[in-house]
Symmetry: D4
Subunit: 178 residues, 8 copies
């Protein structure tokens, strides 16, 4: 996997600040994009499969203990009738960031609506379908943390400056390397 | 309310066989159509607001006790990011019948997809958006019960025969009464 | 076909309790997921192609005889303008479980709406588009049967316990086998 | 009802050439637009409620006898999971013209897909959702009949000429009559 | 191409009864399914590319002469903003049968709506997106012709009988030939 | 009508530079928003009903003469299967600006796709569904004209400056006048 | 306006922590639901109309100064081609919470997609279409702030406890007061 | 790349009349279709990556200087939450022609709505999703320029005449070359 290097793949940080959960290990190809962002920013995190439909009591337990364990953000990805982000939001005051995982036939339209259309009172911050959404959920969580962490804010601003430079360096037609 | 008469409105039967749950009392206008069917067939039932997002632990408790309390079907209605039917299905082996309640802006398309697109392993039997779906969820539950209850099957067949007669009696242009 | 082994492929059980019908043999790749579930639970069943549009009188006959033959559930899959589940529901009091088979250009959105949006009075219990929906239709039928069959209920609970354990055993990043 | 005058409202012509059927008398407000066209062209017709879901055997009977009774076109309107046009097409070689009746929550998108997405081999000629579609189904049936009826073709050409003149006479801003 | 044999590929019959037109030669893969049906029924026909947007005056000419040339049906296929069927319907009293050709990004949803949603007064009989729709447009045209051609009606009934037999012969799991 | 004052309502300017055409006088409520913009900018224009489906030859004639008559932009509005903008684009090199008029049941989704999804080679510049789209089609035509008309460009810049000031003057909660 | 009482309506707090911006004063009816939440939690905030399309430079300025002014969250609402939330996210590292305001013809589907489908690198946390989304954007911002503000966290937990109690107190059929 | 030859690939013309901008170099495969048209017509142009979200200030600068630099049209392509065309339209009186670039999961539906649904006052002329839209945006810009450039108009008419001839030369079944 060339896109990024996991330094502690599959293992939780000692004191995770962000929990990344997903409904199935098959969501990994999407959700790894969130992990990569947290790695890049050095935000302690953990990754777990927590299936709303197959492990509902584990999900309740995860939610019940999230705040006490020091989690300050939960990134939750799921596809189809994607209930994990919304249920997690119901179970903890820790803010939940939802990622619509593309579904087989409806390409994530069902996932998106199942996550974003939460009723008043129980919010899920929702991001784009797929890889971009997973990365952005993590970036948004970083931004929220950075509001009280000036070192992290500096990192975020440097990240965005690099991003701007990379876009500025783009030419069309794209360079062809021989 | 002229369409039907509740004989035991708001009160649970002594030994309910069917539980009708909904995410909010604002779902009542839709869900009463399920109640009316059960009333008509004399199926003992109870009605409760069980909000997946605002009362998640009550929902877990309801699901955990459903089979032991003798429920043989649960009819669950919800709108928008409608998680109640799917979560109830995750919490009990009692079969769940889901009703997509129309949402304000997307008219129930979000509700429908949030209910029907369940992953393999945790089914929710889903019905049409709105009033028809609520009535049909109850009729389907009645049909399931009727497979081992010949008296109920007779009632169901009589109901359908009356329905056929009513359709046969329709004329166009519709009669105008003066 | 590695996913499951049919013990009596293509042949009806002596006294089928569940009928699995589909509009075309091309629906088999989806509908075999329903068959596999019934095999796993040991529920006697039969499988047939019953095309609503090309064999309408056979369909009527199948519906007319379903209850008398002892069927207690009919799982019907179809794609596009998917009329088979709804018509079967019109023809028998036996409860019908509908599976939207993905269509070529609209990926099953047409199939889903053609099955789920039934008018009041004639319900079809509808499940997700495709493979998950086929498996879940069978699981829901099993759950309905299990409400009066304690041995089957035990099997269902064991199935779900295994499913929970399998989800709990998932790790991310997924294991790579060499 | 000011828009048109039915000369034989609700009664069948002695030898109807076109059958207009609909799933419920509630479809009349849409389907009367088809009737009005046939009235205008003097095409003998009959109107009936034939519910696919509540009167399936009557539907079969209607289809089985359509050709023998001399019907040369059947206009069928239905809403939601709209199975009547497609099933009628399965039951008779008489060409079927389908009208998607607007549904309550999905405004006829479900009706349209349920009618138009027929599998190869059993066609339903489908028209626009609602009033325009009903009128056009009748106009198309008239055009088909007119291909072997020069008097009817003349009427059709005159109708279209009047229509062209009416459009040509339109001004904007529209005239205001005091 | 194994599915059918064109006996007079690309050439018009001496006195075509049905015109098959399409917006581009790239529509051929879909529209050949209509041709194959007319071949099978021995209905004299012609095939032409008539682009509404690139050859509008040719289109007008085709429409103006259609009735006089003896055409009794026009099958028109187009994709995207598919204007050919509707414009042809505006230009001739000959009935038009529209085929939504799948589009690159929206898979024919745009084609379908552009064809079916005609205003009152100018009908286009619309069929399913893609191959099935092309075949069905031809079958519907055949059915219309068969209403005054008993030999053709017999052929149509035989075709449908064969179709019914083929469906009845289907087994599941599908036969595997070695 | 308080929103704007037509100085020459319904009459063409002596030498119109912009033609505003629509499929029916019922489109006026939308299309008057385009007229109002041209009035405000003093751009000579004409307004006509030109129905693609009911007046196809008039449409051809309008297109054939558009360039010679000095028109430099054509604003075309239509609803449903909205063919007028695309056909006009096929008939003249004068650039066409399309306005999707909201349709009864699909609220302009059909109109939008029928207008915007033109094939390569025959463009229609498309704007938002409804009132905003009509005004913007005219504003875009004004901008195109302003590229070689410095007085008009000044007017456009002033218009936009006023628009900016109006937005800047907005407060929330909105002022309540007594 | 009975739903809530603004204590400082239209005026900014001395040191706002949350900025609430919207594209037009016509968005107020939706966005006031966000304001009400912040009022209830005593979070200092400001409200402004900042139109991305009519005041782009003001928008740039607002973004450029947001972090320096001490804003820790920006709630941005817009409808249709809703660019304000995404552009604000491009202009500041302060996290942006987007609210899709319902649009006239597409009921907010366009707003939702324009806000949520941001590319990787520039996230907008998106909430439900309309009133619920506005309230939830504010609740999510409160939750983010509460992660480093134990008093606010207590308030949030109390809010949610009250919400749970309110849901638990719901009965069906709803009480009727005489 | 056989479809067209760029004579000045990636370099701006000395005095560009049309600016072609896109959100990322990954949009090139679509946007090159616009470039090819301008090449064919000999319209001086420039091509740049201008990301609304990653280079917002560059975008503002580009817009602020567009009119002064002599640009008379800006063709802007973007995908997903596609804000570039609309923001550019907010920043300059130069008319903007928007191209919806297909997105990964929603195939450009999000891009289309994000571009076309602009509010009253700030128009973006929108074209089809993908390659056809890019070519057509350029053709429309050419047509606007041609209204005051008779040589260009002649070229445009010749282009369209060739296009008509090419369509007229199409046969079906398509020629097969050996």
């Amino acid at each position: 996997m060339a896109e990024f290097q996991l330094t502690d793949a599959g293992e939780a940080a000692a004191d995770p600040v962000v929990g990344i959960i997903m409904g199935s290990s098959s969501d990994w190809d999407i959700m790894k994009n969130a992990v990569a962002v947290l790695e890049e920013f050095g935000v302690p995190h953990e990754m777990r499969v927590v299936s709303a439909h197959r492990m509902p009591l584990d999900m309740v337990d995860y939610g019940a203990r999230a705040a006490g364990r020091g989690l300050r953000a939960i990134i939750a990805g799921a596809g189809g009738a994607a209930h994990l982000p919304g249920m997690m939001a119901a179970l903890t005051p820790v803010p939940v960031f939802g990622v619509p995982v593309p579904s087989r036939y409806l390409r994530g339209e069902d996932s998106l609506l199942s996550i974003v259309q939460m009723p008043k009172g129980v919010p899920v911050a929702t991001f784009a379908i797929g890889e971009a959404g997973a990365a952005n959920a993590a970036l948004h969580a970083v931004a929220c943390l950075a509001m009280t962490d000036s070192a992290l804010l500096e990192k975020l601003q440097a990240y965005r400056a690099r991003q701007t430079e990379a876009a500025r360096a783009m030419v069309v037609p794209p360079h062809v390397t021989l």
